[in-house]
């Protein structure tokens, strides 16, 4: 295992989580789920690195996600928290990706963190459907997380 994603999210997003009253769920080492008032941010780690997917869960858990980093870069502004790291240093790359995303969300997307949905009316936002299996597993993980707290 190259990195425990949940430990990194817990460490690097602690300020964001506390300030915005979010909740971190820990389904496994390669996925983290951050719950907001009516949405979830899915943090996934795969061969391309980190990805952040927004999942609306109001009135129920949706069947599509939005690539949050893509949206923020394209429609708002991506904020860099420091110099670009050596691409071979995977852990530092992960840490910086999480730091950049946390800072960007806090500075240019407080409405999203508050659970506002106006931005979702923009139909140009790319939506990625979840598979049945993904939806089932996410529903299970989110429900279990809600019951833990």
């Amino acid at each position: 295992m190259l990195a425990n994603l949940n430990s990194l999210v817990n460490e690097l997003w602690s300020g964001l989580i506390k300030t915005h009253n979010l909740r971190l769920c820990e389904p496994n080492d390669e996925e983290a789920i951050v719950l907001g008032p009516s949405y979830a941010i899915l943090v996934w780690l795969d061969r391309d690195g980190l990805s952040f997917r927004y999942l609306d869960r109001s009135p129920q858990i949706g069947r599509e996600t939005i690539d949050l980093a893509d949206y923020l870069i394209d429609k708002r502004r991506w904020i860099l928290a420091g110099e670009a790291p050596d691409p071979a240093d995977r852990l530092t790359v992960l840490r910086q990706g999480l730091n950049n995303c946390a800072r960007t969300l806090a500075e240019v997307a407080p409405d999203i963190l508050r659970g506002e949905k106006e931005w979702l009316k923009d139909r140009s936002v790319m939506r990625l459907p979840l598979t049945e299996l993904q939806h089932k597993e996410l529903t299970h993980a989110i429900t279990a997380c809600e019951h833990q707290h």
Binding site: M1, L2, D46, R47, D48, G49, L50, S51, D67, A69, D70, I73, W78, L80, A84, P85, P87, A88, R90, V93, Q96, G97, N100, C101, M126, L128, T131, L133, Q134
Partner: protein, 100 residues
Amino acid sequence: MQSIIAELGNMKSRDFGPKPGGFNILNVPDELYVNAEQFWRDFNKPWLDAAIARGDKIVFATQPRRDLLWRPNLSNGTYELSGFGREYYYLLNRGLASRL
């Protein structure tokens, strides 16, 4: 693809050899991944080259959409080809995939 891998039991392997009557999925151990460029050079491209040399049928399990072919680079806020994007354009340039 993640669902397919999950249902197959997530078996990680470096065996890129032929599987008559079966199929190949690139799913090497996590420890072998350093970054996207290294993974493409050391594993992904050789895996595709082996399949092309054998004349395997190559089927996309994912639609080649723009948002899947390109992904944000979180370190600098630009866009770069995703692993899937590299595969798609590599096959497209060899006449083994259709244009979008």
